[in-house]
Amino acid sequence: MTQQALLLDIQGLSKRFGGLQAVRDLSFTVAEGEIVALIGPNGAGKTTAFALLSGFLTPDSGRVVFRGHDLRGRKPHEINALGLARTFQIMRPFPRLTVVRNVMIATLGRHPRPAEAEARARAVLAELGLAAKADLPAGGLTLAERKRLELARALGTEPALLLLDEVMSGLNDTETGRIVELVRTINRRGIAILLIEHVMRAVMSLAQRIVVLNHGERIAEGRPEAVAADPRVIEAYLGDEEVSAAPA
């Protein structure tokens, strides 16, 4: 564990959908400036955990404290304003708005004057290599570009913690490498990152710590090498196609 200050503290988080216990008694922390990966087989409850953290779902029990604020009962936009931004696994650009407008929706929160918000948005787009697309409708972007737009928008809210939900899935090796570099750059600026990812090569190279979920429960946590060697983790993934892509 790092010695840095605690940014996110999750204690005993649970969520049930009818007969399905999607997340069970989940606890872990993210320190300031840290990169933590949340992995697990499909249906392990990763995306549900993100929805609970970002206020899109209300937990049945448990507590989430972010920068000293209890997030219970807070709406998604309030949580975002506290500095916790998320991306969506299924990307949700505003298709009819231009790319720069898409990012402005994010930057206007901290820069209420449209001219300022636009300048900020263009700076973020330039950083993510989307400057050339800024004035085109977002609906026309390629998959890789939409992934980067999703990242640009989250970044535009100037978060302290970024939740990235599979921002690399479906991308080729070059594009994945590019996102890995971007995530690293973002992190170097002091933004902590919690990522859900199936692309193991990316997880192993990025994460300082890995939390493994299975059936909604945390089954392992630790440094990447330790987690990869953990028999419980191997068992959880066994028979899963992800295993072939696992630890390199």
């Binding site: 969506f88 949700r92 505003f94 708005l97 929706i105 449209p114 989250a154 809210t157």
Partner: protein, 313 residues
Amino acid sequence: MRLLVGLALLTLLVLPAFLSSYALTIFILILFYAFLGQAWNIVGGYTGQLSAGHAAFVGVGAYTAAMLSTEWGLTPWLGMFVGAVLAAALGAIIGYLGFRFGLRGFYFVLLTVAFAEVCRILVSNIDALGGALGLYITFTGNPRQFQFQDQRAYYYIALALMLFATGVVALIERRRFGIYLGAIREDEAACEALGVNTFKYKMLAMVVSSGLTGLGGAFYAFYLFSVQPNTVFGIPLSVEIIIRPIIGGAGTLFGPILGSFILTPLGELSRQYFGQSGLHGAHLIVYGVLLVSVVLFLPQGAYPYLRRLFKRA
């Protein structure tokens, strides 16, 4: 573009000098419906919250101004603002119920229609408000009582209302509020994730829209010298309000105006033409055909299409 707007404005300012009294009536209606369409545009077009009960706000504005004038002797010039405030309050109630409880799409349409209908039935049964017959305003021709011998005065008031609403929309469009509205229309959850308080901005849009619409109620009452529950609260008026911005281009600054210039003369002329042949209500078929054509061929409305044509040229 600026030149074009300036020329159009100049034309509208001098136009009444050249119009017959019948043509003047049509132009008054064009401007007034453009104003109502513009007010609706804020919540229905930009925000994408399909209110199909905006007649309720016209009704509240009309009854308020008329009652204050006939019972309390308050000039409609002030009464119209009281009407606007009450209409905005009704808009806030409808908006709160709709947005707090997450009524989207058809459910929001039904909620707004239901409120307008409840208003209509309530007012029809309150004797103090004239019941089903409504209120009649005695013509005095006194400008202080919002009454004019010269029809051209109504033309200029309707023009002023339209310009005011368009100015409000132009102002909103370029501020943070307006930029958020366009994104709320596209994807509310994504907005929330980016820190946008969607409830607050939808409420604001609803209140501004209903207040502006209520402002028009006084004009309606004092231009026609009467207010009847079936006309000012009825579904047909709500449809008239919605159909112009949709045909002209919902969520665009000039869409409602263009829509009114297309539809109002068409509606009036066909109403008269079919009416003379004993086919009352047949003008609605014209509306229907036009609406279907627009949805099929110009789903964004006429104004965005024209703008593209101009840009290409």
